[in-house]
């Protein structure tokens, strides 16, 4: 089974069971490199569970989650890597990761998948700038000689920290929070906290950015700004984005590819226009049993 060349994340037969409840059932999909992929579905469809599996917060009951860095030829080693029992392997000018085998922090650190949360998880008592520096923990840790050298001021840590601050400054400029850099993150208004969380995730240099309802609680103007931010991230850095979203103005406007989940099963997968007109999707969103009823409900609503 060949994996398409521009596939970044290849999810196969992902199943997550909590006791008797099957939250995600045999789900397979691909996230393409340099695209914005939206994962949508009614409440309780299992979207966040999929996210938690991809980012290592849950270990899937079954399934394989392959992620590629570098050359697409590395996909050919997928079966060999799976058989070897290793977490990741570099070959053919690329590296292939099996995310289901990795703990959460290594997925961000090595496989470079960053995420945000549905209920914002900033460090409220630390400043905006400190939030972005914590996100650069691993490179700074190396620069400080794993603390041992940094504590005596022996290493080039100073230069590394200045570079990290510069990077944070660039991101703050981009999300329009530069003048609030020294304020505690918990003091920011809600929309700014959302933007800061995205900037913080981007400071980990991800190849794949997973956003869990980034537009939740935003007003239409803020949603439009979010669209611009995500499009600029894709355009300037080539970072692929996977997002869960209920706000259809965001989903339909910016995504290249939409996957629809209902009760843990994929019911549609394709470009936004095709998904929008898919009868199964409409049925799931309207909460009716089958496609015939959709016409009736639509007629009633007008």
């Amino acid at each position: 089974m060949a994996v398409a060349a521009n596939t970044l994340l290849h999810v196969e037969h992902l199943t997550m069971r909590f006791g008797g409840l099957v939250a995600v059932d045999d789900l397979s999909f691909d996230v393409n490199e340099g695209e914005i992929t939206a994962l949508i579905g009614p409440n309780g469809a299992g979207k966040t569970t999929v996210f938690n599996c991809i980012t290592g917060f849950y270990h899937p009951s079954e399934g394989r989650l392959g992620l590629r860095h570098g050359d697409a030829a590395v996909w050919e080693t997928l079966e060999a890597l799976t058989a070897s029992g290793a977490r990741y392997r570099s070959q053919h000018g690329g590296t292939l990761f099996l995310l289901e085998r990795m703990p959460d922090y290594l997925i961000t650190h090595r496989a470079r998948v960053a995420r945000t949360f549905q209920n914002i998880r900033l460090f409220p008592g630390m400043t905006v700038l400190e939030n972005l520096l914590v996100a650069q923990h691993n490179p700074l840790m190396r620069a400080s000689g794993y603390t041992l050298l940094g504590i005596f001021g022996l290493s080039s840590y100073g230069a590394a920290e200045r570079a990290a601050i510069e990077k944070a400054r660039a991101w703050l400029d981009r999300v329009g929070l530069l003048d609030r850099a020294d304020d505690p993150a918990g003091d920011l208004p809600y929309g700014a906290q959302r933007r800061l969380e995205i900037a913080r995730a981007m400071c980990t240099d991800p190849v794949l950015l997973c956003l869990d309802e980034p537009a939740a609680g935003l007003n239409p103007r803020e949603s439009a700004e979010l669209n611009e931010l995500l499009l600029s991230i894709r355009a300037d850095l080539g970072t692929s984005v996977l997002l869960i979203e209920h706000d259809m103005s965001v989903v339909m406007e910016i995504s290249d590819h939409v996957i629809v989940l209902d009760y843990g099963v994929k019911i549609a997968d394709g470009p936004p226009q095709a998904v929008r007109n898919d009868a199964k999707v409409i049925a799931a969103y309207l909460g009716v049993a089958d496609e015939e009823e959709v016409a009736e409900v639509e007629a009633e609503v007008g």
Binding site: T55, F57, D104, Y105, L106, T108, H109, A114, R115, T116, F117, R121, L122, F123, P124, G125, M126, T127, L129, E130, L133, V134, A135, Q136, H137, N138, L140, M141, S144, T147, G150, I151, G153, Y157, E161, I165, R169, L178, D179, A181, D182, D183, P184, G186, D187, R200, A201, T204
Partner: protein, 473 residues
Amino acid sequence: MSAVGRESEHPHAPRGPARPVLPAPARSRLASAVRDSAVTAALAFGLFLPLIGFETVTNIRNEVTLQTRWPLLFAITAAMGFGRMFYTLTLEPAIRRRALRAAGAPSAWRARAGRLFVPSAIAFIILYPAVVLLLTGASGALKWIDNFGIQILIYVMLGWGLNIVVGLAGLLDLGYVAFYAVGAYSYALLAKTFGLAFWILLPLAGILASFWGILLGFPVLRLRGDYLAIVTLAFGEIIRIVIVNWVDLTNGYAGIGGIPRPTFFGIPFSADDDGFAAVFGLEFSPLHRTIFLYYIILALALLTAYVTVRLRRLPVGRAWEALREDEIACRSLGINTTNTKLTAFAMGAMFAGFAGSFFAARQGFISPESFTFIESATILSIVVLGGMGSQIGVAIAAVVMIGGTEIMRELDFLKDVFGQTFDPTQYRMLLFGFAMVVIMVVRPRGLISTREPSVFLHERKTISAELVKEGRG
């Protein structure tokens, strides 16, 4: 009618700290104060009736008889009632006004005083032995340098060490004294068995203590909050009980005596010809060693402070604070929370190990009595009272709590007031508890509850305590 209407909404409204002071009429405030004090007096009466109202006395025929102490009971009840009235009428409005003022920006004068405080405090501590010598002479100085100076500095150091674990990383550790004990017994046993010098054993004791810190860290990594506190408490007791029972090694309850004292870089503090006094042409005095020990513990404490300040600006220190704020977010940013927690435990334990080996060298005798749970509780209350994460606050709290208990021994004039049988040290814990209640009412997050950011882009802004999380393991 209008007064009654306003009164009913005034005293029962929630008493938030930032609630504006309403210009309530004096009559209604007095009425609510009277009602409050009546309730307090009734509660006090109910509580103290069995405790103070009755007393069992064995009479001359060896019979137990029940006696009443009505005057004392009524005096205490009245005192509680009037105390409460005093609080509602004067202190409470003052606290509320202060809370309102604190919401505004701190004045420039306070900012300048804050900047000058640390250098002047360090200068005072360095000059302290000389000041004491001038004021009290050689005979009185020993007590002031040893009981106050060294004793307080040991607790300052322990407080700063625990501050890393509790204040920065937000891991509630109730068994901190275990690492203090490991440091003390490491020094005592290795010095007595192998005759190694203090300066070699000091780092070794720190390493051994941090090794035990990591050993404790592993099983408690998954625990949070109350569960973490209970397991660390148990760990502290296990270490003590092992020390008590492993008589072959530790000599059990009898303790270890004759521990070699630190030398002045090889020159012992003795009255011999090659002792410190003879070598430097001084008259022998036990004060020399005490002053030397004072500067050792001062250097160790300052080292702790310096390392903590540096660590806060390094990625590991920021990761500790981030861990306290939100562990899940830390994991999503690629931070290995296991290692981060273990380094916090190891670092805190290391400083306790240093302090422990110093303690053993200073005392010359150690026994399990010195490492009971109450020590852990004292150190933790220093950290909590000082304000978690604040080094200055912790130092002030250590001075107040340890210096306060020591000064109780000095209050002999109270015997003239309360009679010769009065022993002020007996009331130590009572005053201790009272001071804590007062601080927790006035400053619920400790003396210095604000957080200083570790880095800034434009200007350093202090972060208010409401935003800083306390960490729950």
